[in-house]
Symmetry: C3
Subunit: 348 residues, 3 copies
């Protein structure tokens, strides 16, 4: 963390904000509304934050114009408080990169090209014919297979694995434990009903500005490639099957599983713990609520959900029993209708 402090005037310049209050007020750090102490800057994303603002000890806040009147502290008024706060956060918490070079414990294969500005950490293993771009950082214990290419500015945390022939774009952020390019899950039964492995000879090809969360796995394609478009963001413990394609700027939250050969559109938001069937297509701009199950293709943009109600355990068990008896209920209603129809006939 930086020990610097900035005046509100300086922060207003950096964020393009209109300053409301004392331009010479010193700010030495950032914090949430709940945790901020004197001398710290926080932010109000929208009106839902105003109740927290009331009791906050923050010295100043970044705030959108439509909330600024309610503000009792000094304020930096901006159109988008989150984006402005990000700029300030980067100021107080600059990303520090290790000095370039290969750690002496790293093992580098033959015919590999490492840009002189890149950092290859302790116990990293690079195969043959690997290409590492400018300013790349490879954290401890990362293992990179033959013929892999990693674009400029990408940061790999610790214990990442990339299998041979995969391609990672520029400015990727790959968190610890991620596995890119493991074999897709392809087996076919032989006459004895034993599973025979289908060779998985495609690659994983990842665009620019992609972030992948801890312990997520992205399988290589069977024949064609598994691809992630530019700007895709994936959370932790997500499973992307072989031959999946994810369109640009799609966001996939944690614990989601996407089965093989499915095509996800651009600008989608996939809620956490969703389950997406294989061999389907999901349109652009689809939003899935958390824990959604998707069995069929989704042809139209929009928001979808399928998660069930949580109930106290007795109610839940009764609900299951009722669900089980729904067929009966439909029959009973049909019977009532028929009987009433007859009644109706009798009446006439």
């Amino acid at each position: 963390m930086s020990q610097e402090s900035y005046t509100l005037k300086a922060l207003a310049n950096i964020t393009g904000a209109t300053l409301q209050g004392d331009p010479n007020r010193k700010i030495h750090g950032i914090a949430s509304l709940a945790q901020a102490k004197s001398g710290e800057l926080s932010f109000v994303a929208d009106e839902t934050y105003l109740s927290q603002l009331a009791s906050s000890e923050a010295t100043a806040v970044i705030i959108p114009a439509d909330c600024a009147n309610a503000c009792h502290t000094d304020a930096l008024v901006v159109p988008n408080a989150k984006l402005a706060f990000i700029k300030v956060a980067q100021l107080f918490h600059p990303v520090s990169s290790p000095s370039p070079g290969c750690h002496p414990t790293a093992v580098v294969g033959e015919h590999s090209t490492i840009h002189p500005s890149a950092y290859v950490g302790p116990h990293v293993v690079l195969g043959d014919h690997v290409t590492i771009g400018a300013d790349v950082v490879l954290g401890p214990g990362t293992s990179v297979g033959d013929h892999v290419s990693i674009g400029a500015g990408s940061v790999f945390h610790s214990n990442v694995t990339v299998y041979p022939h995969c391609v990672i774009g520029e400015r990727a952020v790959i968190h610890s434990g991620v596995v890119i390019g493991a074999d897709g899950f392809g087996f076919t039964p032989n006459a004895a009903k034993h599973w025979v492995k289908v060779p998985q000879v495609g690659r994983v090809v990842i665009g620019h500005d992609v972030e992948i969360g801890a312990n997520t796995t992205i399988d290589r394609g069977a024949l064609d490639d598994t691809t992630l478009g530019d700007g895709v963001k994936i959370d932790n413990l997500v499973m992307i099957g072989h031959n999946v394609t994810v369109g640009q700027h799609t966001l996939i939250c944690g614990c989601t599983g996407i089965a093989g050969s499915t095509a996800i559109g651009q600008h989608c938001t996939i809620g956490g713990a969703s389950t997406i069937n294989g061999h389907i297509r999901i349109a652009d701009h689809v939003v899935l609520a958390g824990a959604s199950g998707v069995m069929k293709s989704i042809a139209e943009a929009g928001a979808y959900g399928s998660a069930m109600l949580l109930q106290p355990i007795r109610e839940w068990k009764k609900s299951l029993l009722r669900y089980w008896k729904l067929g009966d209920l439909f029959h009973r209603v049909r019977k009532l209708e028929l009987s009433q129809g007859k009644q109706h006939d009798n009446d006439q």
Copy 2:
């Protein structure tokens, strides 16, 4: 495994049990009721184990008083058979710690303090300003970031990653592949609808006596910290989002996902594969059945569930169709009611 044997008398002393049978009987190992052979000790947790006891070859069992009459073998009678059995298990399977010291292949940064009784295994990487407490064991390939502190008696298995600035309490057990402190999943769209990363500058702060299962991930906070209270136990492949707080002595079973900024109470039991929404609160002493989905806060202690019925595939598809037509059914019943009301009016 120990090659020692103990008399039943000795085991009764150790467990505080009332001995029923031959005090000089020798016991040389422990086993389940199903697998136990002559000379081995097993246990009966409660009356549900009695059917297995009948056919067990165990020489003796640990058994609660209310089951002891049914016991045909020598027995150690105790109030809590599981706790007593744990004591005996520790006797026959003592945990062996490696000799203190840093393996020569470990890489240790500057200004780091490693207690002389700690063990730092092969290919471990410690950053700068790391503090490793007494009797800590760090397994092979573990990577610990700058400014991390690990409390006395903690055991890390292999290939664990801890990001910078995180704090681990005393006597933690961290299984292989765990990732502590990766960036939370925080992005906000810019004008072009590209995702801009929100810096994740909080920490993970873990109390004492916490166990974390294999390949689980615990994200660092965005601004505030992600925290796990004392005595929290987390199973494998669990995902804890940024700014989550988990209260003391809460148990979280495998494959569960908890989205960001949610507060879980103390002494909760979260069933496996549960999905918990972000920004909600779960009261103390809540029990969730397996595969529960929690969309809203839970204000009251108690047991809850939401998982659906498994059905043969045809029934399942019919159930989905009925569920789809529930709106219709409600309309049809309303119509019947109205019609009957009219009928009723006619009758009068």
Copy 3:
């Protein structure tokens, strides 16, 4: 990838196919129907592929007899196109093994036996009394505990962890990040309602020809062993609890969780993201659809499912409300029935 090319005649010999077309046609690679270019061979698994075949640029295809008439390209006609295509794929993409030997950065404990034909990669750590069979490959950063045995021909990718005393059969394929033998999740509350760890002293015992996907975890047994039968195939991010047994030739798709002490039969197919309760039995030849939740034992072979419908968000919320009111609806229908019965009585 091999740079070889083969004549169709040669490929017909290798696959036992009936050749339809020019025997001297040269094939230099394989591809999917969609991506194949001139000179490449693809395959038609069944009639569902025929629409893609029409527009494919593949020079030739492997095709089953009942589809061969529809084929406009040269063709290798076989009974099972997938199995034949696997043979050809292995030809063009032979698996290359590293040269035998221990990398100088590997750390090997005492009393361990490594077959001279095995390869132990960079930064691998083997404990004491480890046995590594013929032709085994251990990828970078893999950690193998004391007394582990790994059968001939097994391939471990990077950063795998095997805890002490586990047994892996022959020809296993273990993908990166897999954790075998971590402690099962066994805790029991003491008088203070703190969780006391139950020692986990069983093993994981894995048969022959097993494949385990990236970041999957298989916990060791508490007292008895966790076992996977011969030919079991497990996908990524699967969680197998302690004392689970999986029968021979069962397939488990990604993101599935199986709680402790459950017995899965032989030749089952477990759909992705399924959740299986502990202490239950699943018969042989059971097929679970994706995202199935299994609370109780399944006694009969057959296909089962439980996943819910995805709906547009408004419909979904209405469905939840209707589900919530199902109890009411049952009451209303009962009331209608009673009232109609009375009506009926009145009529008579």
